[in-house]
Amino acid sequence: MTHDELEFLISQHFDGTLRADEVEKLHTALESDASAKALFHEHARLNTVLKSSKAQPDIDADWLSAEIAGSIDDVNARPMRISSWPVIMPMAAAAMLIVGLTLGIIFLRDGTETTVGPTNGALASAQISLPDAPSITHDAVANVSVGVPANMTPAMMTTLFFAQERPAGRVVITPAGHDRHDPFD
């Protein structure tokens, strides 16, 4: 038997977990080997120290079980603690935001999906505001936008599903006889 095997038997002996055949083995070793006996006594002293350190706190069992039952009752009675609100409120706000965004996306998508029939070209008009000058002698820039004609009546509007205003663009007006020159090229 190795030293470790012997020590393992001694350890189990003090824990009361030795099998009958192991008890026999340990007895034989202790009777025949002085160093085994010395090792046994070292463990015996350690065992005394360990056993004497057993904690037995003086607690009133009735009081403690009532305390535990009370804390469980508290939890059962308050399924949602006030302290949970700081967590729940932001979650609720986030959920509302998600619902709002979803509705908004659906609404906007419906709008963009609306198809506009081909508009009558006659209804379109171009409005050009020329630079405020009596005559044009050099290149000038004019603002151009496309939109609903100014003379369109409300009755005519009923036939118009959608009128798209074009953003103002710029055109270059070149006087007669001048070479075409586009300063934006």
Binding site: T17, E42, A55, P57, I72
Partner: protein, 206 residues
């Protein structure tokens, strides 16, 4: 030769299983019975790990609350005792780590405000080394008690828990195995390794 550990009574295991099932079905008295059965060893283990009675009582209350909430997740209802002890030891070790982080204090320096037999807080602190709770511990030299505490803290966690639960507090071996999430044979091995290291660490005091 050696002391007899509390036996792993199969009758008790069956009763545990039945009580857990009844508690899951909503029978509060069944859970109260489990509380009565395990509160004392639970407090003893926590107290042994923390060295303060008030902390130990608080930990055990938290542990039972956790157990109550998580009862339906317990895969083997017959292992309730070991499962509870695992919760108790985890909470106790976490509390101890937190305490050390906050105060940098050692166990023997720690004196909380323990409670009296009814649970009322007293003003005088009481630590494991005071020996005033357990006459047998008072017999053990204060110096040796302090040395044992230091030595226990130097053991790897499983060895320390095995020594505390099995050798010192004498909980049933199977329960300790459940608490440590290992086999019964592994508990023996952890105890053996722990004893060897403690013998070495305490050689000048034995």
């Amino acid at each position: 030769m050696g002391h007899e550990h509390q036996s792993d009574s199969s009758a008790e295991s069956v009763a545990d299983e039945a009580l857990v099932r009844e508690a899951i079905e909503g029978d509060r008295t069944a859970f109260d019975s489990l509380v009565r059965r395990y509160q004392t060893p639970a407090v003893a283990v926590s107290y042994r790990l923390l060295g303060n009675r008030a902390d130990a009582v608080e930990i055990v209350q938290d542990a039972f609350l956790k157990a109550f909430k998580g009862l339906s997740t317990l895969e083997r209802p017959e292992a309730f005792g070991g499962w509870l002890m695992r919760i108790v030891s985890n909470l106790s070790l976490n509390r101890r780590r937190g305490r050390h982080l906050r105060k940098g204090a050692s166990l023997e320096d720690d004196e909380g405000n323990p409670i009296d037999a009814r649970g009322a807080t007293t003003t005088s602190g009481e630590s494991l080394q005071s020996g005033s709770l357990d006459p047998s511990r008072a017999a053990m030299g204060k110096e040796l008690g302090a040395q044992l505490e230091k030595a226990l803290q130097q053991l790897p966690e499983k060895q320390r828990l095995a020594i505390v639960m099995f050798t010192i507090q004498e909980l049933p071996q199977r329960q300790v195995a459940e608490a440590l999430d290992c086999s019964v044979e592994a508990v023996k091995w952890h105890v053996f390794q722990g004893r060897k290291k403690l013998k070495e660490l305490l050689k000048d005091h034995l």
